[in-house]
């Protein structure tokens, strides 16, 4: 599903160049649930941004579902993001003047899906995350866990190939974190590929595979026995 070869990325900070990613080789199969771990500054967010086409790579290659991702202009990148990827952010990033259902329907709007169909799908995904009765509420009326679940529904709505989650539980207490992880595991059970950046051990162990990044290189890449979040809920 994802194929990365010899990925390099550096940032220009004034006169100094900061080499963040120093040759990453990494692939993800369909249906995997991968945790990317590392301390801050290890390059995990940069990696996720490149995977999410929010940032460009300097060197190496990136193939997503057989499509080489390089030299995209903004319009093309937007199209690919819409078609291939679903984002889940640490700070939820819901649009605060739109209701839960409208937020979920947003990626579909960009795909020019008709209004009625959009609403139906949005409700379907909200139901999946258990928030159907909250559909007409604004984000400000929802709790943190609910917001993240709306965000997950939104990421799912466009039926992307890969879900990218950047510290999805970073802003939540542990109980809500487990609820969200439970949801993510269930989505993964249905065969969706999910990449998740975290620095929490317990969250990482709820994935099927852990990739450790340190100073821009992968120091460890292992399969783990998944801890089901269900038991903590």
């Amino acid at each position: 599903m994802i194929e990365i070869k010899n990925l390099h990325k550096s940032y220009q900070m004034g006169k100094n160049s900061l080499h963040v990613l120093k040759g990453i080789n990494f692939s993800v199969e369909e249906g995997e649930l991968v945790a990317i771990m590392g301390s801050s500054g290890s390059g995990k967010s940069t990696l996720l941004n490149i995977l999410g086409m929010l940032d460009e790579l300097d060197e190496g290659s990136y193939t997503l579902d057989g499509v080489p991702i390089k030299n995209l202009n903004e319009t093309k990148a937007a199209q690919y993001r819409n078609k291939f990827l679903g984002f889940i952010f640490q700070s939820f990033n819901l649009i605060n003047y739109k209701t839960a259902a409208e937020n979920v329907a947003l990626p579909l709007y960009y795909q020019r899906v008709g209004r009625k169909e959009r609403q139906e799908k949005a409700l379907k995904y909200l139901e999946q995350v258990g928030l159907k009765e909250w559909a007409t509420h604004l984000p400000s009326e929802l709790s943190g866990g609910q917001k993240q679940r709306v965000a997950i529904a939104r990421a799912m709505a466009a039926e992307p190939k890969v879900l990218l989650a950047d510290e999805p539980t970073g802003a939540l207490d542990s109980k809500t974190s487990y609820e969200v992880m439970d949801l993510i595991q269930k989505i993964n059970d249905e065969g969706n590929t999910i990449l998740l950046v975290t620095h929490e051990e317990d969250i990482a162990h709820m994935c099927k595979r852990i990739v450790h990044l340190k100073d821009g290189v992968i120091v460890e890449d292992k399969k783990v026995d998944q801890v089901r979040a269900e038991q903590y809920v």
Binding site: A78, R81, L94, Y97, Y110, Q111
Partner: protein
């Protein structure tokens, strides 16, 4: 492009900070308001001055004889001369594109003594010897009877058409006038009609105190021979009298043996030139109105542009999210432009409505206090409103352009980083 979701979003965004939106809208509305008021005021002045010109055929010149200032062909300078009837014929033959040539003779005049008698009543009036065409050059309404006709001219009938002012002085109220006689400098004329001139302010009263008699009868009765006092010459529509006057004057000079270089021997007044001068004044007024109005509007537009920039700053993160979700940068740009255009048009239309209401109010006041000099019916046409709308759309586009550009310049990753 104009789907429901976009509209909903535009309304949502603009209604999020109502006071700010209103303040911005006021800037644009005010600009358009000023533009409309200025144009209407200009139109009011134009209408007022046009009303002063009345229905007089403006493509007309008046020509009269003076003294020669150069000796020519053995004739001395300082010689008095008169136009003759043959000059009228000569002008008619030699100068094309003339509609009317009316030779006129005149008795009385400003401050003249009493020259008209009826029974025990007397009065001082201007008496004109005229051809029937004069009524088309100097329009008047016949209130009773008829005007001079060609039979009168040929038969040299002693008939007269009197003004309403003359009637008031020489007749009792309600007294029939048709068929009665008045004595003009000792010669009896039968009244066959009366006229009323449209009010040309100032001369209004004077204009009603005139008596018209056939040119030929005038010449005979008052011993004018074939002399012509002055002429009113109107060109055909489409050719201007200003271009023809040189040739007309030259014909007269040749006939009357006046030195071709003698510039002062023939007096004339070119009404069309005056009219054109006023016309170009109106043009200049309109131009000034547009100039000032658009400048005032411009400051409103800059306000809109400014607010849009602030809105973009506030929405940086939102725009980042939307782009991460896969919104086309073009779609974002379009959204911002439409917000800007929408805001400008709505506030501009409000300005137009207020401007129209204001003009309506002014008109109501004008109606109630009666006519004001040189100011009649200030108004703006639908064409002006259309132009104002065009200006608004273009300025909305301009106002939104820079903000929209800056909105899509932000890369999504940077936008998302702003907390």
């Amino acid at each position: 492009m104009l789907n429901k979701d976009r509209w909903k979003e535009i309304i949502e965004v603009l209604s999020r900070n109502v006071f700010r939106t209103l303040a911005t809208a006021f800037g644009v509305g005010w600009g358009i308001f000023i533009l409309i008021i200025l144009l209407a005021a200009g139109k009011g002045l134009e209408n007022g001055i046009r009303a002063d010109f009345g229905d007089i055929a403006t493509n007309t010149m008046f020509m009269w004889s003076r003294s020669t200032t150069k000796s020519y062909k053995g004739l001395p300078k300082g010689r008095r001369y008169n136009f003759k009837l043959e000059d009228v014929k000569a002008i008619n033959d030699k100068v094309p594109n003339l509609r009317f040539i009316s030779p006129r003779n005149q008795l009385g005049g400003f401050g003249g003594g009493n020259n008209v008698v009826r029974g025990l009543k007397t009065g001082a009036f201007n008496v004109y010897g005229d051809y029937p065409e004069i009524i088309k050059q100097e329009p008047m309404t016949i209130t009773q009877g008829r005007f001079i006709n060609h039979n009168d001219i040929e038969a040299k009938r002693k008939v007269a058409i009197i003004g309403e002012g003359v009637k008031n002085e020489l007749y009792d109220k309600g007294e029939p006038i048709l068929g009665t006689y008045i004595k003009i400098q000792g010669v009896n004329f039968m009244v066959v009609g009366s006229y009323k001139k449209k009010n040309n302010d100032g001369d209004g009263e004077e204009g009603q105190k005139e008596i018209f008699i056939p040119f030929t009868s005038f010449s005979q009765a008052f011993n004018m021979g074939d002399n012509v006092g002055w002429m009113a010459i109107t060109a055909k529509d489409g050719s201007s009298i200003s271009n023809l006057k040189e040739r007309i004057v030259n014909v007269v000079k040749e006939n009357r043996k006046i030195h071709p270089e003698d510039k002062r021997a023939v007096g004339y007044f070119d009404l069309y030139e005056q009219f054109n001068r006023v016309e170009s004044l109106f043009g200049a007024l309109r131009w000034v109105a547009y100039f000032v109005g658009v400048l005032v509007l411009l400051s409103g537009i800059i306000g809109v542009s400014n607010i849009m920039l602030i809105v973009i700053k506030e929405r940086t993160k939102e725009i980042g999210i939307r782009r991460a979700l896969g919104e086309d940068p073009w779609s974002i740009k379009k959204q911002i432009l439409m917000e800007s255009i929408f805001l400008t048009i709505i506030s501009g239309m409000t300005g137009i409505i207020f401007g129209a209401a204001f003009i309506y109010g002014i008109n109501a006041v004008l109606d109630s206090v009666g006519p004001v000099d040189m100011f009649v019916n200030p108004s703006v046409g639908i064409g002006v409103v259309a132009v104002a709308l065009m200006i608004l759309i273009v300025s909305g586009l301009l106002a939104g352009f820079i903000p929209a550009q800056s909105a899509i310049k932000v890369r999504p990753i940077e936008a998302l980083r702003t907390e």
